[in-house]
């Protein structure tokens, strides 16, 4: 663990403040680490994946002796040092050729990891096509019912969403929908709850396409795809799932972000919006009844005016008499 730093100047203070827990979090930073031995395939994969989520990723170009499934101390160190909560570790060995480990951290501790082997890879540069611009949010397409049934696949899906979703936005420009990440799982499940990869012949196809939108004569455009790369055929290997309690804390939604409860508005069975109106107690004092002159209450002004007029009248009468 890193020792807690006490800021000595305003700059470090600002940096540390950015790293503090927040209600609405920063975009997660990912680090791409090379293990002690790597292959060209793994190196390319690491740099391509890094490129996909650029500006929020750090590529480690030197080799590091990390074995996340055996010992996660050095990994914790790398992540806390870079304020990263996502990591990909590439390695290559006889037992596990072209190996990638996707993982997440929570609160400086390892949350979960999934190890995949690259069976077939095409880098982004090998495919000659237009690439998406930097910092764009991708569309996600998950194909295959395994993503709903198998625990490993569910976790993998969640991890991919976490990795590539980018900024959290309230609205997005239509022209910013530039590329789509398609992840397709095949194979059959053996045990849906098991933590080990459940499919024997199963593969996960990772493809990235750019989107071209053309006129369709309707509101939504016609979509055509062009392969952008990188593309991988993954095979699931080892996994490490999150502790249930920790995961629960990690997915807690802050109170301020929860939608406010709407009072007095319901939607009934037919789908109509129904509103309840609460009418306050009626003020019977202001009730309009039949008007009668005799019951009319005079205000003070009226009364005094009345008197002064009458007195004037009397004076006039007296004057008349005198004349």
């Amino acid at each position: 663990m890193l020792k807690t730093i006490k800021p000595k100047n305003a700059r470090t203070k600002r940096i540390l403040k950015k790293r503090e827990p927040k209600v609405e979090e920063n975009v997660k930073t990912a680090i791409f680490v090379r293990g002690s031995t790597t292959s060209q395939v793994v190196n390319d994969a690491l740099s391509d994946l890094c490129r996909l989520r650029r500006t929020n990723s750090i590529n480690f170009t030197k080799k590091n002796n990390v074995h996340p499934f055996d010992d996660d101390t050095s990994l914790n160190f790398y992540c806390s040092k870079n304020d990263a909560s996502l990591f990909v570790i590439g390695s290559h060995s006889k037992k596990r050729p072209h190996n990638l480990v996707f993982g997440r951290m929570f609160d400086g501790q390892l949350l979960d990891m999934i190890e995949v082997g690259i069976e077939k890879a095409i880098t982004m540069n090998e495919i000659k096509s237009q690439k998406c611009s930097v910092g764009m949010k991708p569309l996600f397409i998950f194909n295959g019912d395994l993503f709903e049934t198998s625990q490993v696949h569910k976790t993998f899906k969640n991890m991919m969403l976490d990795f590539f979703r980018g900024q959290n936005l309230e609205s997005i420009n239509i022209s910013g929908l530039e590329y789509v990440i398609s992840i397709t799982a095949t194979g059959s499940i053996v045990d849906s709850d098991s933590t080990a990869p459940s499919t024997s012949d199963g593969k996960i196809f990772f493809r990235v396409y750019t989107i071209q939108m053309t006129k369709s004569g309707q509101k939504a455009p016609r979509v055509e795809l062009e392969e952008m790369g990188p593309s991988y055929d993954f095979k699931l290997r080892r996994t490490k799932f999150a502790n249930e309690e920790v995961y629960k804390i990690a997915t807690k939604v802050p109170k301020t972000l929860k939608p406010k409860k709407v009072k007095n508005i319901d939607v009934n069975e037919i789908g109509d919006k129904v509103g309840h109106i609460h009418v306050g107690r009626q003020d019977l004092g202001k009730l309009q009844t039949r008007k009668m002159k005799g019951l009319k209450r005079m205000t003070e002004d009226d009364q005094t005016e009345d008197w002064s007029q009458r007195i004037e009248g009397v004076f006039l009468d007296i004057q008349h008499v005198e004349e």
């Binding site: 997440r104 194909n143 609205s171 420009n173 789509v180 397709t184 196809f205 369709s216 455009p221 979509v223």
Partner: protein
């Protein structure tokens, strides 16, 4: 020409945006994601993987785009068409735990118990002497103690040789250091977790505090009449006013029999049932109490 035929002709100019799926897709539009659970064609996937995947993904993307275009669209000048995204449905773990609420200071705790609410004050106030708006506090502020003025009046009963300037400055320094000490104490208590303990304590004591305060106020109100409340009728449930009750002492020379009885009483209380050991400390305390 028939209208429907015209429509048909218009449509045929473009490629269709409709996609048929057996099981409708699930969407999480906040993440721009769609989940397709339809069965894939295994043999096609094996023989012509890339083409099949591309075609299949195109269909999925088309459906997702169709869904996105049904969201509220607004066109913004110089930007283009902007889509409002709904909230994310899929739970994605956070990076760091939720921020902890800042532990309240002693004053904040006290204010909460007493129901004191912070109300915002304007920074400038009108100074009638100067005839202008001045800051409430700080440099040239309205609450300036006057130590920077060229003249400070000597109070009536003050020592005429005392330097009033240094006195004021000293007082200010003391106020500042006192405030600083309190600030430090608040930080310390927050770090050691003392605040939480104190808060729990004060929660329990809040009612008692209010009660004693009410009693004090009642006793003040009672003695606020011309006759100091001597002729007021007692109210039901009124606290007995113990304030100003003087201790009464027995006369130095009095009834010997009575005194003897009292002393023996004390002795009986102190010597325990077995009647051997005398606790001197206890005896003295008891004696004081009884007197």
């Amino acid at each position: 020409m028939d209208v429907s035929a015209q429509l048909e002709a218009q449509k045929s100019k473009y490629k269709s945006i409709n996609v048929e799926k057996q099981v409708p897709l699930q969407f999480d539009l906040g993440l721009l994601a769609s989940y397709d659970t339809n069965a894939l064609e295994e043999n096609k996937l094996k023989t012509e993987t890339d083409n099949y995947l591309k075609a299949y993904t195109r269909d999925g993307t088309q459906l997702l785009i169709n869904e996105i275009f049904q969201l509220p669209l607004t066109s913004v000048q110089d930007v283009g068409v902007v889509v409002e995204l709904p909230k994310i449905v899929t739970a994605i773990p956070r990076e760091k735990p939720l921020p902890k609420p800042k532990p309240p200071t002693r004053w904040e705790r006290f204010a909460k118990v007493k129901g004191i609410k912070k109300n915002k004050k304007s920074k400038l106030i009108y100074d009638e002497e100067k005839g202008e708006w001045v800051p409430r506090w700080g440099y040239k502020g309205a609450n300036d103690d006057g130590s920077n003025e060229w003249l400070v009046p000597v109070p009536d009963n003050a020592d005429p040789f005392e330097d009033q300037f240094t006195k004021l400055r000293q007082a200010k320094k003391e106020r500042i250091s006192k405030n600083e000490a309190r600030r430090r104490r608040n930080i310390e208590e927050a770090e050691t977790g003392e605040t939480q303990k104190l808060e729990n304590k004060s929660k329990a004591g809040a009612r008692a505090l209010k009660k004693t305060e009410l009693h004090q106020q009642i006793s003040v109100a009672k003695t606020s009449t011309a006759s100091l409340g001597k002729f007021d009728k007692p109210i039901k449930g009124e606290p007995s006013n113990t304030k100003g009750v003087k201790r009464k002492f027995e006369p130095n020379i009095g009834d010997i029999q009575k005194e003897k009885e009292a002393r023996l009483n004390i002795l009986n209380k102190i010597i325990d049932k077995k009647g051997e050991i005398l606790n001197v400390r206890k005896a003295i305390a008891k004696n004081h109490q009884e007197n």
